[in-house]
Symmetry: C2
Subunit: 388 residues, 2 copies
């Protein structure tokens, strides 16, 4: 059996395995990143024209590209519809970017921690992952400059608004500083913003790509967190030098994104109906966030430190007594509670013990307190066993 | 700008450019491979559960996997639902296979001619494309054996039923012989069957994967030619040794295939309603095929040779006086007629002049005769210019 060299780096996804283990209905899961079922909007299909069943353009539906470009311009992203590529969920942006940039040993720059599935695809293609640590308001700028002086990364991948997993939102000052550094060193930016609209305490700052003066860029988003993830409709917007390559890569990957989902997305994007839905979604998640914070204070105050997330779907806990949280999974699942260990969100997991990612959007509020209490007990027991 | 090494092999697709040039309504196009609009079935969405909007499994919807496995077993493919992976159109199978097998310089074995978009993705990943010539009933077996004795291809990619572009359907004897050769040399088979159901003159022979005794295999199909291409729902079925790798590659490519399209496909696969639709589709295309053959006899009898396709969507013409048919494109488009040159269907286009691929499913029958007459005139003019 002769597979490609890259298959030796094809990792099983820990999150997949946890989600599989957490299928039992009695398990309280803080592991995934699913939207709450109750907030999936009712959608209508009756008016969809039959022509949406025919093959479509690799670029995506023209009207949807126009709508997405208009939304992005509203955020300050300088773009035309011709720079918009509709993709099969924003995960596909990462696949296309990996193909565009990464050979074995190609250096890329990432936040530490960063999005698990981005690591998975970038490492599959053989990237050498350089990292810059995140602080509460964005990357450590001194370390970012030091990395840029020492390395020539093919791109930097950032999730500046309510990052998965850390929930960090970059400050205005750090957004400006990051843009200036990337321009100075001529580094391409891939900016991933699935959570921008899920903001609980006020509006989100302009994307970093809108602050660039020279560097190439890819901005990517999705309707998965705001409308329906099952549609698998995301998009990327790219600087004009990159767009033609990304389009050809899209075509060779799957010809085009499904038109049924594109049509449904178009019924919402930019409408008053969508604004209304987003307001309801923010209110709903804010209440869940607040309840989670309350319950965390009760059960985790002596065990961990964390910042209250201003948006997104996750709390990111740092244990006061660091330990490899992957070892907690088995006892947690035995106690019918699931969570996501923090180590896999780093390219060097073994050097980054002691974090937990907890999703607050999907758990039944009636079981929240029970779930966090059980999880805290599992951690206490592990600490006690270690001390003994 | 430092792109990956593979981007140097990222080709623009000639077919895309032709389709763009053929957008003008006055152009009669034989270039694409679109299903006839008139035969897109009316579909109902009213009963789709809202839960289809949530994230789904990377493997695909369980009920759809069961239905696809049952269909495949009906064709003689030995498989369980656990071997079925729903993909975003069967083009994605080729992307996943390229990732699984192809490093720069990896030898793979293809039919000559072969499917354009397969060449595009395999060459993007750096494959060294070895070919075996097609005869009217399948590959030249002596040459196939010679290739297998000389090379160790990572896989062989075959489209044995109404191939795009050549319309070749492998005979029973050649299917058996190919399976025996692949078992003898231990070569993995990727069998692509988008056109199996579009058969005009009787049933299709059992897939080659069902005749293998030892080799690993991937069988891939789609609902794009039988139901609605805009759904972007295809599938692969793989031998158990390959499946786990393909599943992880699927997950890292786009998490999962859109569930809306999967749900719609499930409403049809294996139903009496679908059988009825397929019968209508075959009747409709048979009539178009027959009319096309009739018109070809009138206008091309002295210009080209061809076999009457027993299925699929294309006639494959071989000019009696070979010439680079890519040079015919400009004058053809000037005469408001589009076709697909044969050269790009070969890894070595310049050594394979003189073929045209003509689609018969999509042209308006009222303009068929006019279109073929114009195309024949363009060819005659080119011959005359050459002779002058």
């Amino acid at each position: 059996m002769a597979f490609s060299e890259r298959v030796s780096r094809l990792k099983s996804s820990l999150i997949r395995e946890i989600l599989a283990a957490a299928q039992r209905p009695e398990v309280m899961s803080f592991a995934g990143g699913l939207p709450a079922e109750a907030m999936l909007p009712e959608v209508e299909w009756a008016d969809m024209p039959l022509s949406m069943g025919q093959y479509g353009m690799s670029e995506g539906e023209p009207a949807l590209r126009e709508a997405l470009a208009a939304e992005a311009r509203g955020l300050g992203v300088p773009c035309e519809a011709s720079q918009v590529l509709v993709v099969s969920g924003s995960q596909q942006t990462l696949d296309l970017a990996a193909k565009l940039y990464i050979d074995k040993g190609t250096e890329i720059l990432l936040e530490a921690p960063t999005y698990l599935a981005a690591l998975q695809i970038f490492q599959l293609f053989g990237a050498d992952c350089i990292t810059v640590p995140l602080e509460a308001d964005g990357p450590d700028l001194e370390q970012l400059r030091a990395r840029l002086e020492k390395h020539r990364p093919a791109f930097i991948y950032l999730i500046p608004t309510f990052q998965n997993p850390s929930a960090v939102r970059y400050s205005e000052a750090k957004r400006d500083a990051v843009a200036a550094l990337l321009d100075e060193f001529g580094v391409t930016l891939i900016e991933d913003e699935p959570y921008r609209e899920l903001t609980f305490d006020g509006g989100s700052a302009m994307p970093i790509v809108s602050r660039l003066k020279k560097s190439s860029w890819i901005y990517t988003g999705t309707v998965s967190k705001t409308l329906l993830p099952g549609l698998r409709v995301g998009y990327l917007i790219a600087s004009p030098d990159l767009f033609p390559h990304l389009l050809k890569l899209k075509q060779s990957a799957d010809l085009h994104t499904n038109r049924v989902g594109q049509w449904q997305a178009l019924q919402w994007i930019g409408t008053e109906k969508f604004d209304h839905h987003l307001r309801e979604l923010r209110d709903f998640y804010r209440v869940r966030r607040d309840a989670f914070q309350c319950s965390l204070e009760t059960h985790f105050a002596d065990l961990a430190d964390w910042n209250v997330p201003q948006g997104g779907l996750f709390f990111w806990l740092t244990l006061k007594q660091p330990m490899d949280t992957r070892t907690l999974l088995k006892p947690a699942l035995a106690a019918d509670v699931a969570f996501m260990p923090g180590e896999p969100f780093f390219p060097d997991p073994d050097n980054n013990p002691g974090h937990l990612r907890l999703n607050f959007s999907h758990i039944d509020p009636a079981r929240l307190d029970e779930g966090l209490s059980l999880l805290a007990a599992v951690i206490r027991q592990a600490h006690a066993a270690k001390a003994a």
